[in-house]
Symmetry: C2
Subunit: 133 residues, 2 copies
């Protein structure tokens, strides 16, 4: 992920590396405030503004994805699957990626029926992970 930043011409600052590490070390859903808290344990001089900016940057690069769960609409999780979606545990906030294959048929069918051209889609599942059931 760090190499990814590099490759796109972004500087590898201590702040970015801290946010990166936070997003990589678990697979939980994290709000910007939580990322700030955890990030400060890695690099004490880390500001809220930078957290917001870095999370959006990582999202643009496809390293993290936003999750619109029940608990507020601004949370981020690591994107492990390329072009995948999230399945979130409502109890422990653990996140699992799953591929979006199988959705295409439904999308095409809907596009045909409505005449819309579908350009993007958002799919999220919520439930209980094996440990929390």
């Amino acid at each position: 992920m760090a190499q990814g930043l590099r490759a796109h011409g972004y500087k590898l600052t201590a702040q970015r590396l801290a946010v990166l590490q936070v997003m990589q070390e678990g697979n939980e859903l994290l709000t910007p405030a939580e990322v700030l808290d955890r990030g400060r344990k890695i690099h004490s001089r880390l500001g809220m503004t930078t957290v917001y900016r870095t999370l959006e940057l990582l999202r643009e690069l496809g390293f993290v994805r936003r999750v619109h769960g029940a608990e507020g609409c601004r949370a981020y999780a690591q994107a492990r699957e390329q072009d995948g979606h999230h399945l979130v545990c409502q109890a422990c906030r653990r996140v699992v990626d799953f591929p979006c294959s199988g959705l295409n048929e439904l999308i095409e069918q809907t596009a045909r029926r409505t005449g819309f051209s579908v350009e993007s889609h958002l799919l999220e599942l919520a439930g209980l992970c094996p440990a929390c059931q």
Copy 2:
């Protein structure tokens, strides 16, 4: 929809009827602020607080649904399909409902693979409507 409110024991106030009418008269995506603006043309004494409360009430009753689009995460649209999802035009914000049948297979497959029990899902499509293409 008004009868629905009645049936659930809610009072039919002028404010609720105004919000209701706003949500019924188009099939656009509307933010609470937009609902307030339009609602005030129908009933000038309408407050922001009531708009928020009424939209949530209508959502609980299944008359409207929240949409988490690109442009902010709090918008509402009329729910025409029972238990359906939204397809939003990115240009004109027109909204079309589509049934969620066909998604169940994907959900079950994902549940089996991950061991999660899936309790809810969120699916939204975005694109261009026939007129805007």
